[in-house]
C-alpha cells in the first residue's frame, strides 16, 4: 500500500477536495512540504475546501503535522478547512498535533558587533573577578590547612599519598625525558654559536644558570599545569556536575578539606621534587651533548659547572617551585568548582585551567626574577 505520497485536487461543485494518498511519513517530508506549500496557495480560491485523507496509507507525526499545517493555512475568514476521511487509527495523532501552538518559538541567538563588544567587555571585567576568586580559594585552602593543623585527625593522608603518586611518581618519566631533551638542545645550540668565538666551554655556564634558575622549574611547572592541573579541574568538575560535592557538604564535610587540601599538598610537594629531577636530567643531557658534539669531556664539564654556578642558583630555582605549584593548584581547583552542568562547560574550564595556570606561572616567574634581582641573589 505504502507508496509515494500524493495530494490531488478534485473540484466538487463550488468546493475543492484535496485528496492526500500514499505514505505521509518523515521519509517523504521534503516532497510533502513542497506539495503542501503549493496547495496552500489555494487559500480563498473556493468557498469550501476540505482535505480528504482517507487514502493515506501511512501517517506519522511529520505527515500529520503537514496536513495540520495545510488545514491551518487554508482556514480563513471564518471558513474552516476540514479534514475528512480520517481513519480511527490516526485520529488521535491528528488530534495531538492539532493542539500544537501555531507559532514555534524562534531561536534567539544574536551575533552582532555589539554582542561581540559586550563579550570583550565582560571578559575584561571578569579578570578582576578571577583574581578575587583565586585569592578566596587561597584563603579557603589556608583556613582548611589551619583547621587540619589544630585537628590532625581531619588530615587525609591516604588521599594525599594517592595524589602524590598521580602527580609526582607517575610524572617522573615524562618530565625527565622532556627536560633531558631540552638540556640537549640548549647545549647543542650553545656550542654551535659559542664555537664562533672559541668560547665552547662557556656553554656550561649558560646551561647551569639557565637550567637551575629558570628553565628547569618553569618547564616542569608548565608540564605539571598541563598534566595535573587539567586532571584536577576535570575530576572536580565532573564531581561538581554529578552533585558529589554537594553530597559531601550535606554530610558535614568541607569539600576544601576533603578534596582540595590533599590535592594542593600533593602538588606543592611534587613540584620541587620534579623540578630537581628535571634540572638534573637537563644538566645530564646538556653534558652528554657537550661531550659527544662539543668535545667537552665530563671532567672538564663538572669542573666548569662547579665554578660557574653557586648554591644560590639552585635555591632560586627550587624556592619558586612550591609557589608555582600552589598557583597551578588553586587555579585548577577554582576552575573545577566553576564547572556547570554541561559537558561543554567541563571542557571550557579544563582548557582555561591550563591556560590560566601557565599564564600565572610565567607571571610568577617574572615577579620572582625582579625580587631576586633586587635582593642580589
Amino acid at each position: 500500500m505504502s507508496g509515494d505520497p500524493t495530494l490531488e485536487r478534485i473540484a466538487q461543485g463550488n468546493g475543492l477536495a484535496l485528496c492526500a494518498a500514499g505514505s505521509w511519513t518523515a521519509r517523504f517530508a521534503p516532497m510533502l512540504e513542497k506539495m503542501v506549500a503549493d496547495a496552500e496557495k489555494l487559500r480563498g480560491s473556493r468557498p469550501n475546501i476540505f482535505i480528504d485523507v482517507s487514502q493515506v496509507s501511512k501517517l506519522d507525526t511529520f505527515g500529520a503535522w503537514l496536513i495540520e499545517r495545510l488545514r491551518r493555512s487554508l482556514t480563513e475568514g471564518g471558513i474552516e478547512a476540514k479534514i475528512a476521511g480520517l481513519s480511527a487509527n490516526y485520529a488521535s495523532l491528528v488530534d495531538e498535533v492539532r493542539r500544537v501552538k501555531a507559532e514555534p518559538v524562534v531561536e534567539t541567538r544574536s551575533v552582532s558587533i555589539t554582542g561581540m563588544l559586550e563579550q570583550i567587555g565582560r571578559s575584561v571585567a571578569g579578570v578582576g573577578g578571577t583574581l578575587v576568586e583565586l585569592i578566596e580559594m587561597l584563603g579557603a585552602v589556608l583556613a582548611a590547612a589551619g583547621h587540619v593543623l589544630i585537628r590532625p585527625r581531619g588530615f587525609r593522608l591516604t588521599s594525599t599519598v594517592h595524589h602524590l603518586e598521580q602527580v609526582c611518581w607517575r610524572a617522573v618519566p615524562i618530565v625527565v625525558l622532556i627536560t633531558f631533551l631540552i638540556g640537549c638542545i640548549i647545549s647543542q645550540q650553545g656550542i654551535f654559536h659559542f664555537r664562533k668565538f672559541g668560547a665552547d666551554i662557556f656553554v656550561v655556564d649558560m646551561l647551569g644558570v639557565l637550567v637551575l634558575r629558570e628553565i628547569g622549574v618553569l618547564l616542569v611547572a608548565i608540564m605539571v599545569a598541563g598534566r595535573s592541573g587539567s586532571a584536577y579541574t576535570a575530576e572536580l568538575g565532573s564531581m561538581k556536575m554529578r552533585e558529589e560535592i554537594d553530597a559531601l557538604r550535606t554530610m558535614g564535610f568541607d569539600p576544601i578539606e576533603v578534596l582540595i587540601l590533599p590535592r594542593m599538598l600533593a602538588l606543592v610537594l611534587a613540584l620541587p621534587i620534579l623540578a630537581f629531577l628535571g634540572a638534573m636530567a637537563a644538566l645530564y643531557g646538556g653534558g652528554l651533548v657537550a661531550y659527544l658534539y662539543g668535545g667537552v669531556d665530563p671532567e672538564a664539564f663538572l669542573l666548569r659547572l662547579r665554578d660557574a654556578i653557586s648554591i644560590d642558583h639552585f635555591i632560586v630555582g627550587i624556592i619558586k617551585a612550591p609557589v608555582m605549584a600552589a598557583v597551578i593548584g588553586i587555579v585548577a581547583c577554582v576552575e573545577g568548582l566553576a564547572v556547570q552542568g554541561s559537558a561543554e562547560s567541563l571542557g571550557q574550564h579544563t582548557t582555561s585551567s591550563v591556560v590560566k595556570g601557565i599564564f600565572f606561572v610565567i607571571v610568577m616567574d617574572g615577579v620572582f626574577a625582579i625580587f631576586f634581582a633586587s635582593i642580589g641573589m
Binding site: A29, T61, K101, P104, V106
Partner: protein
C-alpha cells in the same frame, strides 16, 4: 513458559551475558509482540538494564541471538543496523540528554542526521513532540542542566520519539518522578502507543505502571525469564518473588 509468537518485533534467543566471571544473563529467551507494552521487572541487580543494553547493542553477549524487526543484529551489515536503529528509540535511565545542546537541538539532533528537512518543519515538529510529552514550547531553548528531573525524562522521551520509531525502550521511565507525574507519564506512554502504534519495552519498578500501562509483564530472575504474562497471571503465580512483589504490602496499596 514462553510460547512462540509469530509476529515478534524483538526475538531474543538463548543469550548469555557475562562480566568477568559473573554471569548476568544465562540462556535467556524473550519475545516482544508488535504493538504491545511489555513491562519488564525483576529484583534490583538482576540484569534488567543489562538485557535492554544487550538488545540495543551496548553490551556484548557471549552467546545467543537477537532479532529486531526480523533482522538478526549479529549478521546485519552496518547499513542494515543503521536501518534498525533508525526505527527504534531509547530512553535512558538518566535521560542521557546531550548536555551541551539545548532541548530543541537535542530533539532535532537525530532528525537532522537521518532526514533532510527544512528548519521550519524541524521546529514545528519539535514543538509538536514537546506537546506530546506534555511540555510547553518555551522550554525549547533551555539546556538540560536547567531542567527538572521530570522534564529531563520528558525531553528524553521526546528525543527517543523524534524519528517516529516503531519500538521504544524505556529504562525506568517513571523513577524519580512524583506519583502524579509518574501517572501522567504512564498515560502518555499509553496515548503514544495508541496514536503512533508503538511497541514499548519498559523496564520498571513502578507497580502502578505495570497495572495501568502494560499489556504484558516479563519477570527476570537468575538470568532467565521466570514468568511472562498478564498482571492477573502474575498475581496468581506461586513463585515466591513474584508472590511477594505482586501481593506484597506495596502491591496491595495499588488499587486495580
Amino acid at each position: 513458559m514462553l510460547g512462540e509468537i509469530s509476529d515478534a518485533i524483538i526475538r531474543v534467543r538463548d543469550i548469555t551475558v557475562q562480566f568477568g566471571k559473573t554471569r548476568i544473563l544465562d540462556g535467556l529467551n524473550l519475545d516482544v509482540k508488535r504493538g504491545e507494552i511489555l513491562g519488564f521487572v525483576g529484583p534490583s541487580g538482576a540484569g534488567k538494564s543489562v538485557l535492554t543494553r544487550t538488545i540495543i547493542g551496548l553490551v556484548p553477549k557471549v552467546a545467543g541471538s537477537i532479532e529486531v524487526f526480523g533482522v538478526d543484529l549479529d549478521k546485519a551489515s552496518a547499513t542494515e543496523r543503521r536501518g534498525v536503529e533508525r526505527r527504534w528509540g531509547v530512553l535512558f535511565q538518566q535521560g542521557a540528554l546531550f548536555s551541551s545542546l539545548t532541548v530543541r537541538q537535542n530533539i532535532q539532533f537525530p532528525v537532522r542526521e537521518y532526514l533532510n528537512l527544512s528548519q521550519r518543519l524541524l521546529d514545528e515538529v519539535m514543538v509538536a513532540k514537546l506537546g506530546m510529552v506534555g511540555l510547553k514550547p518555551e522550554v525549547a531553548d533551555r539546556f538540560p542542566s536547567e531542567l527538572s528531573g521530570g522534564m529531563v525524562k520528558r525531553v528524553a522521551l521526546a528525543r527517543a520519539l523524534a524519528l517516529d520509531p516503531e519500538l521504544v525502550f524505556l529504562d525506568e521511565p517513571t523513577s524519580g518522578l512524583d506519583p502524579i507525574g509518574a501517572g501522567d507519564f504512564d498515560e502518555l506512554v499509553r496515548t503514544l502507543q495508541r496514536t503512533l502504534g508503538l511497541t514499548v519495552f519498559m523496564v520498571t519498578h513502578d507497580l502502578d505502571s505495570l497495572y495501568t500501562a502494560c499489556d504484558r509483564i516479563a519477570v527476570l530472575g537468575n538470568g532467565k525469564i521466570i514468568a511472562a504474562g498478564s498482571i492477573a497471571e502474575m498475581k496468581a503465580s506461586k513463585h515466591p518473588w513474584l508472590n511477594q512483589y505482586f501481593n506484597g504490602k506495596r502491591a496491595r496499596a495499588v488499587v486495580v
